[in-house]
């Protein structure tokens, strides 16, 4: 082998060494998010919020005197992909902690891996309660579905005055199945009735069959517990089939794509969420202002939760005074009344964030704040 042929290899080796050395003095936080695919809108907003948090942290001098580096991986909205990218983040990039920028199914897939490796995971938007049951290294920055289900059931019963509700569930989607279950539990104990429960699969586009069956049951309102793409199509087809009652859903409706796809059909629909830019809290006002100046458009739920997840983690690393997994874990678990932009966060014994929820409605294609519900 001549020196000429060995030269590129040598270059590669040297650059890898150089990269390793350069990377040595940053605090590496890994992130996986659905940056493309069906749930792209969530992943992108989560990632944007997390990236903004890292920018602000570094502008203020980083954590422990070191710059923070965010390594983001795309899960392409596919099952199996989160585990692959997280293994890569842990084994190749050696991140100190991981932020989950996508839904419950992905977080459930990844939680046991992080637990086994002793790398703390902070889920930004995974609301299914089972996520943190994987172990003491798994935390979240959002409220959980039993709370959200209760909020929605109370809202349907009191504000919408619905007695008979039909539910649509995305089978195989942990978030949707869980939320529908908690909604049903609370709604039926409050004297309401779930008169029809229809299932579909994520990625389905035709819901006319399920909606026709629901129509025959004559519901007062319809609860679509799945993601925004499917839910927008459900709203559209429900209206086409003459179902005129109120439509409502959970926090996965909170995406501009809901209005783009659903158009006129989602007008007047309701959903629960984590964050309202209309809130009066001065800390939120300042965040909205800074974010808008940096990105040209205001923050939404995904960006705020992504932001809070990273800030929660940074706060824990600062308090731990170390980037060691176990120390970060203990600091995260001790988080009390942390002032996040999505509300004051206290991490409870199950490592869930205890905080308030917001109800929105769609008016003239915009999301409008209706009410705030505390735990």
């Amino acid at each position: 082998m001549t020196i000429r042929r060995r030269f590129p290899l040598l270059c590669l080796f040297l650059s890898v060494v150089a990269l390793r050395l350069a990377a040595e003095d940053t605090v590496k936080i890994g992130m996986f998010a659905s940056l493309t695919g069906r749930e792209a809108s969530f992943g992108q907003t989560n990632h944007r919020g997390a990236a903004f948090a890292v920018e602000e942290l570094n502008a203020a001098g980083g954590v422990l005197g070191r710059k923070v580096e965010l390594l983001a991986e795309d899960t392409r909205s596919l099952q199996g992909e989160p585990a692959t990218v997280v293994k890569k983040l842990m084994s190749r990039d050696k991140v100190v902690a991981i932020v989950s920028g996508t839904g419950s199914s992905a977080a459930l897939e990844v939680a046991p891996l992080c637990q086994a490796a002793g790398v703390p995971l902070v889920a930004a938007t995974a609301t299914n309660p089972r996520v943190t049951e994987a172990g003491d290294y798994i935390f979240r920055a959002c409220f959980i579905d039993p709370f959200q289900g209760t909020v929605l059931a109370r809202f349907a019963g009191h504000s919408l005055k619905a007695r008979r509700v039909a539910v649509l569930v995305a089978n195989g989607n942990a978030y949707s199945v869980g939320l529908a279950k908690y909604f049903r539990e609370k709604f039926t104990t409050d004297g309401g009735e779930v008169i029809a429960e229809q299932k579909y699969a994520d990625g389905d586009k035709d819901f006319r069959a399920q909606l026709t069956a629901i129509r025959a049951a004559r519901p007062d309102a319809i609860f679509a517990s799945g993601n925004y793409t499917e839910s927008a199509l459900i709203c559209k087809q429900a209206r086409e089939l003459g179902l005129s009652g109120p439509l409502f859903g959970g926090d996965t409706w909170d995406s501009p794509a809901l209005v783009e796809i659903g158009g006129q059909a989602v007008e007047g629909a309701y959903f629960s969420g984590h964050f309202s830019p209309d809130a009066t809290d001065p800390a939120v006002r300042s965040f909205v202002e800074r974010f808008t100046r940096r990105w040209g458009s205001g923050p939404d739920t995904g960006t705020s939760l992504g932001y809070d997840a990273v800030m929660l983690l940074a706060d824990a690393i600062k308090r731990a005074g170390s980037t060691e997994g176990a120390r970060i874990r203990d600091a995260l678990a001790a988080t009390k009344d942390f002032a996040g932009v999505t509300g004051h966060i206290t991490i409870d014994a199950q490592r869930n964030a205890s905080k308030s929820a917001v109800i929105f409605t769609v008016r003239d294609g915009k999301f409008q704040f209706v009410e705030s519900v505390s735990p």
Binding site: G37, A213, A216
Partner: protein, 297 residues
């Protein structure tokens, strides 16, 4: 009863789209004896061409809708011809398996090019045609469903006319029967095959637009599942048989809708649709309308 009629209508409008895609599979198979797996991705390209044309024509107009439909069909017809010219023509005469693998390759190429150029994020599809809902005896009929059924019926009749009443159609049938003999009597096989691909791809484009009109969220992988279902429909009806593909598509659409509408069984909708396929093929191995022919040596 109203619920039954409503579900039947839902099933027919879903099945009509499967039928339209199935026609493309069956025509190429009829002439070349191979499954063009890239067909479902031409369907996707059709929807995207409609999306881009839709941004330049006013929404909710008949002429705008038909312009997008015609434009997408023309672009995809050309795409079909190009795919055949570049990927399949060189392999003509080689074992069917080689062409089949190439078709899968072209399919993956189109899907990934789609993700590269259009992005993987689903996009909302514009409402091209005027949208209204009619109520006939308690059954809600959306104008889009009528457009789907009408366009499918029209294209099916046009196809029957082309295949049975025109010179090029006669040539297609001749090539299907025996390519060597057809070329001996002076038929230009290349032209006939190009024409078949153009026709099949135009139908896929029409299917893509109609699908996007009814389910207005499009992405580069949108063709995979409808494509698979349409392939099943083509086999169900008897692959190579044009009315068979239409019948298979309708049946599959109706079965799927009724299964979906029942609360207890909807999780198994694909399993039930494919089980129906297996049962029908057990009793009629050549499909519903297919003719069973023994291979001549």
């Amino acid at each position: 009863m109203t619920e039954f009629l409503q579900q039947l209508l839902n099933g027919i409008s879903l099945g009509a789209i499967f039928a339209l895609i199935a026609l493309g599979y069956t025509m190429v198979y009829g002439v070349l004896r191979f499954i063009n797996f890239a067909h479902s991705d031409v369907f996707m390209v059709g929807a995207f061409v409609g999306y881009y044309i839709g941004r330049h024509v006013p929404e909710h107009t008949l002429w705008g809708g038909f312009l997008a439909l015609a434009g997408a069909m023309a672009v995809c017809a050309l795409l079909g011809v190009i795919i055949e010219r570049l990927a399949y023509r060189r392999l003509r005469g080689s074992p069917t398996l080689n062409v089949l693998i190439t078709a899968i390759g072209v399919s993956l190429l189109l899907e990934n090019l789609g993700q590269f150029f259009f992005g993987a994020t689903p996009r909302p599809f514009p409402e091209l045609f005027p949208v209204t809902t009619f109520i006939v005896g308690g059954v809600y009929v959306s104008s889009n469903q009528l457009v789907v059924i009408g366009v499918t019926l029209g294209l099916l009749l046009a196809l029957e006319f082309i295949v049975h009443r025109t010179k090029i159609g006669t040539a297609m049938r001749a090539v299907s029967l025996n390519p060597k003999a057809a070329s001996l009597v002076g038929i230009n096989i290349d032209v006939v095959i190009s024409f078949t691909f153009a026709l099949g791809s135009a139908l896929a484009a029409a299917g893509g637009i109609l699908y996007a009109l009814n389910y207005p969220s499009i992405d580069p992988l949108m063709g995979v599942l409808p494509g698979l279902k349409a392939f099943v429909a083509a086999v169900l009806g008897g692959i190579g048989n044009i009315p068979g593909a239409a019948l298979g598509g309708l049946l599959l659409g109706i079965v799927e809708t009724f299964v979906n509408g029942s609360a207890d069984w909807s999780s198994y909708k694909d399993a039930i649709a494919f089980a129906a396929l297996i049962i029908i093929l057990l009793f009629r191995p050549a499909g519903l309308l297919g003719r069973f022919t023994t291979e001549k040596v």
